[in-house]
């Protein structure tokens, strides 16, 4: 070693988890290059985000997506990672750590971040195969493996971790029961009212909840078979997840003689009883408290890095924690003292119909506790008031209604803070590539005050619309009090003051059967509407008076007018129907002949199991259709706000796993539903077994065969915003599948707004609403089904054949009006 260069200080981290690695990152930020760093991890992985294990189990993320620091990061930062080796001894005099495989590293500073261990309740049978905890990636792998081969899961523990495990297992198709010792779920975060709502929501997702249930033993011989409760009840269980809590893992600290209590005791500088050894995260005990959430880790890591690098004399003073449950679709937030007490006041808002419950706990002029259930978007604002100990004062009257209301006019504060903190080059609208700076500049320079104006000038949120809330927040931030978000039902378009629902109601009540009649009766402000309202009106008339309304071709989008999809170069694409995705040599030959005859440049297989002929000239369309018709093929309606495709797997006819004839069911469904028009495109799928090869759970109406019948799923799509279906119900006969499908589609097209797909519609009206009409009300279902079948008698005419049969003069849509010669 060069004698002139001082030796780098050696830092050894034991524990390659979130707390330790965050500290290393903080140290590198404060003193790059000062330390020679070695990290030991007992798990064989790089550092990953443990709190995201729930989404991994739920299938919403994969392991790679939750990695925080990959191997390249360790290399780039010159950090030595020894993964998969546990530290078994520390020689505090010689300042060396010893690994289980014999690795030895000297240290100047040792940082312990050994985390916590899941608490396993001491009952007979806990060592049986099939009993797991929920702590690391290996546990997730074990649960996922069990879900593929076994049916019944019991989760012991109805806290945050247990419920996330239960949700994940249910999403993986297991029959899940949660066993909880206390009378209500998540009792440390939720009061009785909120805990009861949560239990109801979980049960609606098919998760059984047993509270006040004491586990006595786990039964089984070679593998766990059942959970026995103290009252003698036996719950069948092929998988048992122990999620009753965690205990700080201070074993190493204790073994090497550091002061430990429930965890390794640290001072406000995160230093243990040995000044060369620091400890951080879930393994520590600070001022008598231990922590099991992520926010305290970040606070501790900052202090610890300040102290180790001697850059600041900061101190850790504890963290107020807030909790959210990571179960998609369940909105809750909890923070602070939720027990209340004699010196506390409660402000409570309950809306049972919406499943909303909000309770604020005040002590004097301070907010000390928050419980939000069903609607938790204001959680961050309350949490900030609580952490900052902001005097509530005059806010008290309206505090429960949230920030915008309480502060009056939606002035910027915390919910907007994330948007406020975004850099100007942060992309807001991914469809149109619009960044925050561009929107802010446009608002200021053009004096924009409405969402529509921002859309018009910048295109932000003008395509898929999923960034609309962000754009609205930018507007709110830019305009402050000047921006008032509209909450009233929005008019259909700028041509009218009436919202969609009102227009539909009037069409029925007043017997309006043509677009001009609707416009006259409802005082349209434009003579002939616009490209937004006219297609909607045409559709509303079609659903209200099938067979008896005046269709207006000029009010249909070109694709529906021309029965083909317009492409960017003005040519069209043609998709013949293939019932249930089944075709034949004859059809394929005819398609091949058409491709040759009309020199069609591209042939592509679609996601809905069809063949797409791209680049057809408009004037060729009728001739192309005539040839396809001659081979027995009809329009696939790939161009319409209509029933598009029924995707199927091969099912029991061929597949060794198939339980029912899914292809036959798909063909039957497509024969029943083809030609039907809807508010938006509608896609169906039928899978022959729960392996679900036809991807039925991302379809508007999905059918999955099980041994005893058919599971029906609704409201999924793979579009702009991926949404898995909701489980509607199970039926046993083929006839029931057809009836439920027809009734569901009829309800959707009678009630959803034009251009609203089933996914947002189901979210807007609620799954319960759909179930009430389709599952619980047999007479109503039969009526809807009959209405669907009646409408189909008018809809099931092949539009291609109709155009082919027309005489040449009425086919003028497809031909130029004239050809002009060159000027002389």
């Amino acid at each position: 070693m060069n004698m002139l260069t001082p030796r780098k200080q050696r830092l050894v981290l034991v524990g390659n988890g979130m707390a330790g690695m965050r500290t290393v990152e903080e140290i590198l930020a404060r003193a790059p290059g000062r330390f020679e760093i070695t990290v030991f991890g007992a798990e064989p992985h790089v550092n990953y985000n443990r709190i995201m294990l729930s989404p991994v189990l739920a299938g919403e993320k994969c392991f790679d997506e939750i990695v925080i620091n990959d191997r390249a990061w360790y290399e780039a930062n010159d950090v030595e990672l020894i993964a998969g080796e546990k530290i078994v001894a520390v020689d505090r005099d010689a300042r060396q750590v010893h690994g289980a495989n014999g690795t030895v590293r000297p240290y100047d500073v040792l940082l312990l971040a050994t985390g916590s261990n899941p608490f396993v309740i001491p009952v007979p049978g806990v060592n049986l195969p099939g009993v797991v905890t929920f702590r690391d990636m290996a546990d997730v792998d074990a649960m996922l493996a069990a879900s593929r081969t076994h049916r019944h899961a019991v989760v012991i523990g109805g806290g945050l971790l247990g419920l996330e495990a239960a949700n994940g297992l249910a999403l993986n198709g297991m029959d899940v029961t949660v066993v909880h010792l206390m009378p209500t779920l998540m009792e440390r975060q939720l009061d009785v009212a909120a805990g009861t709502l949560l239990a109801g929501d979980l049960e609606r997702r098919g998760i059984k909840v047993l509270t006040a249930a004491n586990t006595k033993a786990l039964l089984g011989e070679d593998r766990v078979r059942a959970v026995q409760l103290a009252d003698g009840t036996e719950l069948p269980a092929d998988l048992v997840v122990m999620a009753v809590g965690i205990r700080p893992n201070g074993e190493l600290g204790k073994a090497i003689g550091l002061t430990t209590n429930r965890g390794i005791v640290v001072d406000d500088g995160m230093c243990t009883s040995d000044p060369a050894i620091y400890a951080i995260g879930e393994c520590v005990e600070h001022r008598g408290l231990t922590y099991g959430l992520v926010a305290p880790l970040w606070d501790m890591a900052k202090v610890c890095a300040d102290r180790i690098t001697a850059t600041a004399e900061s101190g850790y003073a504890g963290t107020v924690t807030g909790t959210r449950l990571k179960v998609t679709g369940i909105d809750m937030f909890s923070a602070g003292n939720i027990a209340g007490g004699e010196d506390c006041d409660d402000i409570v808002l309950r809306d049972p119909a919406r499943g909303v419950y909000k309770r604020l706990i005040l002590k004097g002029d301070l907010l000390v506790g928050v419980v939000l259930y069903g609607e938790a978007s204001e959680g961050n604002w309350y949490f900030q008031l609580l952490k900052d100990a902001t005097p509530i004062g005059g806010l008290r009257d309206n505090l429960i209604f949230g920030q915008a209301f309480a502060l009056g006019g939606g002035a910027a504060a915390d919910p907007g803070a994330a948007v406020k903190a975004m850099a100007d080059d942060a992309e807001i609208c991914g469809c149109n590539g619009v960044c925050k700076g561009k929107i802010v500049t446009a608002i200021a320079a053009q004096g924009l005050t409405t969402l529509d104006a921002v859309r018009a000038h910048t295109k932000a949120s003008a395509s898929c619309g999923s960034c609309t809330p962000l754009v609205e927040q930018i507007l709110a931030l830019s305009l402050g009090d000047g921006y008032q978000q509209s909450t009233a039902a929005k008019p259909m378009c700028k041509c009218t003051t009436h919202p969609h629902e009102e227009v539909r109601a009037r069409i029925l009540a007043d017997g309006l059967k043509s677009i001009p009649a609707v416009m006259r009766a409802l005082d349209w402000t434009t003579p002939d509407g616009c490209s937004s309202c006219r297609p909607a009106l045409n559709f509303y008339l079609l659903t209200a008076w099938p067979g008896d309304y005046v269709d207006d071709a000029q009010s249909r989008f070109i694709n529906e007018r021309a029965h083909a999809n317009i492409q960017k170069d003005g040519t069209f694409s043609v998709v013949p129907r293939m019932w249930g995705g089944v075709t034949s040599a004859k059809e394929l030959r005819a398609i091949a002949d058409v491709v040759d005859k009309f020199a069609i440049p591209e042939v592509k297989v679609t996601g809905g199991q069809r063949i797409d002929l791209l680049g057809v000239k408009k004037e060729d369309l009728p001739a192309v259709w005539a040839d396809l018709n001659a081979a027995g093929m009809v329009s696939g309606h790939a161009y319409g706000k209509a029933l598009r495709t029924v995707k199927t797997c091969v099912g029991s006819e061929w597949c060794r796993f198939g339980t029912q004839d899914s292809t036959g069911m798909g063909v039957a469904l497509e024969r029943m539903t083809w030609g039907s028009m809807h508010p938006h495109k509608v896609k169906l799928a039928v899978s022959g077994c729960p392996r679900n090869c036809a991807e039925a759970t991302i379809k508007d109406f999905g059918v999955i065969a099980v041994d005893s019948g058919w599971e029906l799923h609704i409201g999924g799509n793979g579009g702009i915003k991926l949404r898995g279906t909701d489980f509607l119900c199970k039926v046993t006969t083929d006839a029931e599948v057809l009836e439920y499908c027809g009734a569901f589609l009829e309800l959707y097209r009678q009630e959803a707004r034009y251009l609203e797909r089933t996914a947002p519609w189901v979210e807007r009206v609620g799954l319960d609403y759909v179930k009430r009409h389709i599952v619980e009300d047999a007479a109503g279902r039969a009526k809807l089904y009959a209405a669907f079948l009646h409408a189909q008698t008018f809809a099931q005419t092949d539009p291609w054949a109709e155009r082919v049969a027309e005489d040449a003069a009425s086919r003028h849509e497809y031909r130029p009006m004239a050809e002009m010669a060159a000027a002389p």
Binding site: A456, T526, D528, S531, I558, I566, M817, M820
Partner: protein
């Protein structure tokens, strides 16, 4: 269909009845396709059949008032001037159109 002849640069391309109300037809020409629009009030307008945005065929759009919404990205083009409605910028070329009784005549600029 045979090409129509030019008389003083004007071409007789057809009659009002050839175009659906609130619709359009195209006429092919040496400068590309020309879209001839008919409004609800039977006014007629001709524009080159190219949206100033991405070249979409305006003839395939929905006609309302004296405008047409492009079928590709819904830009609204004023049929009288060919101008895109604010805040969009751009202009589709207008083509001279004259009516002689029931007949529709177009004149394409030279060169």
């Amino acid at each position: 269909m045979s090409a129509v002849d030019l008389i003083d640069g004007w071409a007789d391309v057809g009659t009002l009845a050839d175009i659906p109300r609130l619709g359009a037809r195209i006429v092919t020409s040496t400068i590309g396709n020309i879209a001839v629009f008919r409004t609800a009030a039977d006014e007629l307008f001709a524009l080159e059949d190219r949206c100033p945005h991405k070249g979409g065929p305006l003839s395939q759009g929905i006609v309302h008032g004296t405008g047409v919404s492009c079928p590709l990205h819904n830009w609204l083009i004023d049929l009288k001037t060919g101008e895109a409605c604010a805040p969009d910028h751009g202009c589709a070329k207008t083509i001279e159109l004259r009516r002689d009784g029931d007949r529709i005549l177009l004149r394409v600029p030279r060169g």
